[in-house]
Amino acid sequence: MELSADTVLELFLHSLSLWWVIVPAIVVGIIMGAIPGFAAHNTIIILLPLTLMVPVEVALTFMVALYCATHLGGGIPAILMNIPGTGGAAATTLDGHEMAKQGKAQQALVLAFAASTLGGLITSIVTLFALPVLSLVGYYVHSVEMVVIMLFGLTLIAVIAAEDTVKGLIAGFFGLMLGAMGADHVYAAPRGTFGLLELFDGVPLIPALIGLFAISEAFVMIEQETIVSSKGQDRAQRASWADTFEGLRIAAANWWHIVWTSFIGLLVGVLPGAGASIGAFVAYQQSRFFSKEPEKYGTGYAKGVLAPEAANNGVTSGTLVPLLAIGIPGGSTAAVMMIVLQFHGVPFGPRLFVESPLLAFGVIMSMVVAYIFMILTILPMARYLAKVTVIPTRLLAPMIVAFTLVGAFVPRSFVFDLGVAVAFGVIGYIARKTGYHVAAILIGVILGPLVEQSYIRALRISLGDPLVLFSSTLGNVLWVMLVLSLAMPYILNWLRRRKAAQAAS
């Protein structure tokens, strides 16, 4: 179906008329996104009965707005407390929380909000017009490429997040190993489960996220008085509109940075299974790679907040592309949306564009409208949210543990999962204190089962020949990029030392 200007206007006005669904979805989404454990998909699952009671377009608009808002909300605790509300906000902690520690939480929040909304808005508009073309990306990515993409993503995280590459890789592979726990997909043979039935489905992801980030952070937190360092106290105390405007000015000055990193998110989102975590880290790494000041990343640098936030909202429109175009959900939230579409008898995949084209494009248009509403809703909140960083940690830590443990319980309703969260909390605490970044472990846990699925599928196709991993052109290009990203820190160090030696002589 061709999109004419009239159709676009009609879709826009129609989505705008659904403001009464969009605004509550944004509010709920931001709150849920800010609570680790309450990601978009389990919030939608909780509210599923509601979405099944209303017409399908209203239900989809609600879900889409909620989905986008959770990605924005996930950045709030990442910045304020070093606890990403969703996996996609893990990369935001690297610079966002550093800014908060310097008393610039408000500015960091404004940067995150601006990047999220602008990144999401741009990619939604692009998706609206490029949906047929984008959907083709999925055809070029098979199991071999998926294995390399996931290992590439993990490598990037290991290189970016940890103090040194070997430590980062150990953390990442430890995560992959933990992620490979559970029953084998073909024979249902339990592996590495310590004989616990509750682990046969693998490591539950939400308790792992909560343990690694929230519980461990609460334990680190009680070792200091407040989140803000003593130097940043004054600045954090007198948070005002000036900081909001300063954040907006920085975001506007870096508009191009937001645009291209959000496109990285969009492309990663289109790949089924890759998701917001990888998108945000890839964007962060690329942003640092092309920066003139790479040494500033990780020290509270504005571009280090803009890149992952723009990308993880770029992912939101990307994950809907395979669902709408070929009927394969790009992520867990898209999978829940697919269930709602199925319930209402709406065909998904290519038939959706033939039978209900306005619904297909309307989903993306409601994203555009949701982002417009979001920027108006969230900006005034930044200065009040920033005050969290000056609350004494001895008051914050118990609340964080109590309320995030709740999140660990929600997805499966097993008390056992609370224990998993605490066990991962201990691992996360040790990792934080000894320079093994928790993000690398978490991404490993997320990717573990996905890598295995793709790897086994590739081996089955090749009748067990492991060289199949080097059999595709795209895969080989990605292998080269992977090796380059591993070698790059060493090459840059060598160049720096050589330059210093030349200058000294």
Binding site: A397, F403, Y455, I456
Partner: protein
Amino acid sequence: MTTETARQGRTKKRSVGADLVIPIMAAGYALYYIYTVLDYPTEAQINGLFLGIVLCLLVVVLLARVAAQWFRGEVDFGMQRLLAPLSMIPSRLVFLGLTIAYIVVIPWFGFTLTTFLFVLGSLLALGVRSKKLLVLMPLLSAAGGYIFFIAMLNTRFPKGPVEHFLAGMF
């Protein structure tokens, strides 16, 4: 002079004992994982074997690097990095104990009462002495949690005396 130099040498050494906890844990799990798949069909083994071998190799590289640094006298095997600040060890242990207790008692006490007791105990353990805070914070967190998660979202938390009482009332 010699003593002074020796002391300076000692203080310059980096403590890396704590840095080895995660690699040892990781290698231990990898070996256990490999042990559990030894008798399985190849497809069930292959991913774990691949990941486990790479992980163990990485750990060997790290250990070799640390050994070389130790031979050069640059590092010792102290655990300061993990344990510091030492004055906070009791608070951290009590906080961890309370967190574990939260999980143990929640099936009997239910979400609301356990949250109330956990927040109260943690505040006391972390040195909060203001009576107002000690009453208000546990009360608000338990009540807020009940209203938001149980009453509004209908989350299936373990029910205890408070939940049963409130269910009987409304």
